[in-house]
């Protein structure tokens, strides 16, 4: 049993890491298209070997540690980031249930949503500690921004999810199951996907996931225009790559989370298996995220705070209240 679980974990990690490699190529390609360019196309056919070339380059690079850095924390920060990014996906069911178990998810606990939110929130430790341990002002400012950014969107994120939980509990008639991912998906089979009845919540949640994955327009912790590279300024070689991996795997995981909560998970017309529908939906959300990156400028620091507290949080609260009232009636 434990061997099987370990095997599952290894398979999941391999899938996510190759997903990261493909997503990075995909992003560079599509960002190129958005700027009248072709994107990488030199290594291999259609540039498909580009991630491999990048990986070899980054692994061969020197792993520089600043003289004043807190060595242990500096070493462990990217590991935390990557660990969190890889772990969070374990809760997400990517295919239909078989024999009472969710074989397409590594774990499907009845508080899966809660565990998922808890784990993804740990991710900010990697960024905060990495910036702090670098003993560099840019890195420190980057990690300070990461922490401040997190508290301004995480509340709205949690509150917007509550609408989905209420609806799931109402549809299943069983509040105890409402936090289980597979139940959330099953309650959307044959019903409207939650993106329709929870449209406001979906928008708030999607914006929060963009902020959670530290991507444009919420990439304040990196902010190359002001902070060199923010928290990853002092990192090089494989440790820098680990931060990049964490960012992209977070993007995949959070897109998968949005798909599970709002877009019906593995649901779809029967001519394709559920897993394929799931992958297609995740890919579309990743594309939207890249599209946003190509379009929007970075938010100013104070604007992000006021957006999080004065727009997102009230919207999420209104969404929660309206949902609760409608369900109660």
């Amino acid at each position: 049993m434990i061997v099987w679980t370990l095997l599952e974990a290894v398979i999941l990690a391999v899938i996510l890491l190759s997903g990261f490699a493909m997503l990075m190529l995909f992003e560079r390609k599509i960002l190129g298209w958005f700027q009248y360019r072709l994107g990488p196309n030199r290594v291999g056919p259609w540039g498909l070997a580009q991630p491999l070339a990048d990986a070899i380059k980054l692994i061969m690079k020197e792993d520089i540690i600043p003289a004043d850095a807190d060595r242990v924390v500096f070493w462990i920060a990217p590991v935390i980031s990557l660990f969190v990014a890889l772990t969070a996906f374990a809760f997400i069911p990517i295919g239909p249930l078989l024999k009472g178990r969710a074989p397409w998810a590594m774990a499907d606990p009845n508080a899966g949503l809660l565990a998922m939110l808890a784990i993804t929130s740990i991710g900010v430790y990697g960024i905060a500690l990495g910036g702090w341990a670098s003993q560099s002002k840019y890195a420190l400012l980057g990690s300070l921004r990461a922490t401040a950014q997190m508290i301004s969107y995480e509340l709205a994120m949690g509150m917007s999810v509550l609408g989905v939980i209420i609806l799931t509990a109402a549809r299943l008639g069983n509040p105890a199951e409402a936090l289980r991912f597979s139940s959330i998906v099953q309650s959307q089979i044959g019903h409207l996907w939650y993106v329709i009845p929870q449209f406001l919540g979906f928008i708030v949640f999607f914006i929060s996931t963009v902020a959670e994955s530290n991507r444009v327009p919420f990439d304040l912790p990196e902010a190359e225009a002001e902070l060199v590279a923010g928290y990853s300024t002092e990192y090089s070689g494989i440790r820098f790559a680990m931060f990049a991996m964490a960012e992209y795997i977070n993007l995949i995981t959070l897109s998968a989370l949005v798909v599970t909560l709002y877009l019906g998970g593995w649901n779809g017309p029967a001519f394709l298996p559920g897993v394929v529908w799931f992958v297609i939906k995740v890919a579309i959300l990743c594309f939207v995220s890249i599209w946003l990156r190509a379009t929007l400028p970075r938010l100013r620091y104070d604007r992000l705070m006021s957006f999080g507290w004065k727009v997102m949080l009230p919207l999420a609260a209104v969404n929660l209240l309206v949902t609760a009232i409608l369900v109660a009636m």
Partner: protein, 174 residues
Amino acid sequence: MSLLRDIGAVLGGLKTTFKIMTRRKVTIQYPNVKKQRAARFRGRHILRKYDNGMEMCVGCELCQVACPANAINVTAAENDPKDPKSPGERYGYKYEIDYLRCIFCGLCEEACPTDCLHLTQEFELATFTRQDAIYPKERLLAKENSTFSIPLQVYPRFEGRVPLAEVLGGEEHR
């Protein structure tokens, strides 16, 4: 209301970028496809030859003087009358251009009195060592003859070095 306007602005931006994504790409796939250079593009130099194979360079060193970057180094030598390299009295014995210094301004080409020095369209001058960036005369000299023919009436008839002693009328010289 302002929130609605802001949402509209974001959606408008997304529409613009999506439209751009579907347009034709402007990238020129450089090593495979090379961009058309302008007719007067100034690239690597060439030392041209007359149609009979004689070097046009007469070793006047005006290019060296004109060069603002001190990239050109010419040492002239006198022609051997039995086997002249150029139609003039002298020829470029040593001719070096340092492409790490050259700024491709074309002043040398303008200074050249015989139209020998010419800037070609070639621009791929990357080298692995600094020494390789200094082009000796063999690399600069044209492989093929040009269509220019030696202008008559320009070069004085040159029969070889007259000993300085004769010129000075038997006076001693240092």
